[in-house]
Symmetry: C2
Subunit: 273 residues, 2 copies
């Protein structure tokens, strides 16, 4: 600790290991909490989740964290609070913790930094752009982390922490973060739904997505090694109406509508007037 | 050659290396022609393409194939004809070759086997379920090949050829092939368009899909190792209307419509009434 100009105690985020509270124990919290400890940024002293089982499960993966499910039990004197909850739950949980001088971070791609205003003068965002599953290890050094601080000094402090964890640390304000989040929804959530639809269709014939695994791997390899627009194939990019109409006639109304709107988008993207 | 019951000469597809003509020199033809030679199924003696450059480019990748761009120059006495053209071009090209006793195969997921009726009594389908790029080598042993013959004997003959090339050979009639093709369009063509939209959105901020590469890799790894439905994440599966509305307000009308229809489909798929 040191003393600030106005006499407040200020936790130093460099030098000694920080004490960290995780508010939330979902997929993102699970990976970040372990990454904070592994990279020697600090020690997680407490995990909060409305579900005590989730809080316990994450705490057990950490060195010496306690777990609580009542916001009133969250300690008030940690150095860092990492809020990793679904967006709409944030306000309700954090209002129970009194304002302090800690560094408050949230991990959301959609929430503005202002979501933490009122908790401290030292607020920021620590947004790892990755899809996490609790049980699957992720190489955090490869995960892009987008950071923002409420002032340049705090941004530097957060950057210093993030760079201990990942080789890919970028600054992004709330607007850019939201635009990246939209892009990630298309690239990740929506493409995964396309895989799900394919899997559903194949299961009706006693097959599964497994017959398409080589195709999937190659599609993504092409998109990553090159540029996805250059690798577009299929009836829509050629405007092959006969094949598209045949396909739509084989689908439910809902899937035929999806087929139609995406096909139109592919055609117009690749065949500008 | 041997003599059939009705006195016709029948080329044997086992024993001696077959002479093969490739009609088409696109991505599929390029990989298949090389795979036929590599697996010792036979020798490609001729490549036809309306584009002489394409025909020449493929012929040069083969052992001793000539290249032609006039259908009337296609030889009449090969053992196997592999028709690998866009569906609507097939009729026009093959009508120029007189009926013979060769084995005629097409490589399309959408065309019925009957597309070759009239060329020979020995027709079939050889449909490799993969997305090919001319310049990128593909491990054909991993590519599922779906086969069909006009009778059980021809099916066996085609299966024998396919098994020299790939470890994954399945029988599929025209209906099943079409249903798999639709599934492949969702899993491959449509997911690639989702990557393209993400890339387009990011480029407006001076970024590219590269910031999402770890996310993309993990999304596909999850879908392949598990089941894509189980790995669905994002605002739509949670029904997070606030985030979805914010996202749609940031998109063009066209992209907002796509966002909306896919989000609804995700929500209803994962939250059945």
């Amino acid at each position: 600790m040191s003393i600030s100009a106005n006499g407040d105690m200020i936790p130093q985020t460099t030098g000694h290991p920080l004490s960290i509270v995780f508010i939330g124990a979902g997929n993102v919290a699970t990976h970040l909490a372990q990454a904070f400890e592994k990279s020697d940024v600090g020690n997680v002293v407490q995990v909060f989740s409305r579900s005590i089982d989730s809080a316990k499960e994450l705490a057990h993966k950490l060195h010496a964290a306690e777990f609580v499910n009542d916001p009133s039990e969250i300690v008030h004197d940690a150095d860092v609070y990492v809020v990793s909850l679904v967006d709409h739950a944030v306000d309700n949980v954090i209002k129970e913790i009194p304002r302090n001088n800690a560094l408050w971070l949230h991990t959301s791609g959609s929430l503005p930094i202002e979501a933490l205003t009122g908790k401290s003068d030292r607020t920021g965002v620590f947004y790892p752009l990755q899809t996490f599953s609790k049980q699957v290890p992720v190489d955090m050094t490869e995960v892009p982390i987008f950071i923002e601080g409420c002032n340049p000094g705090i941004t530097d402090e957060i950057r210093h922490m993030a760079e201990k964890m990942s080789e890919k640390v970028y600054y992004a304000d709330g607007d850019l973060r939201r635009r990246m989040h939209v892009a990630a929804v298309f690239a990740c959530n929506f493409s995964n739904h396309m895989f799900t639809i394919a899997d559903d269709l194949l299961r009706r014939d006693g097959l599964t997505l497994e017959v398409l695994h080589p195709l999937l791997r190659e599609t993504v390899r092409k998109a990553i090694d090159g540029c996805p627009a250059d690798g577009q194939t299929g009836p829509a990019v050629r405007g092959d109406k006969a094949v598209m109409e045949k396909h739509q006639s084989m689908l439910t109304r809902e899937l035929a509508d999806i087929y139609s709107i995406i096909s139109k988008s592919i055609y117009s993207r690749h065949n500008p007037d």
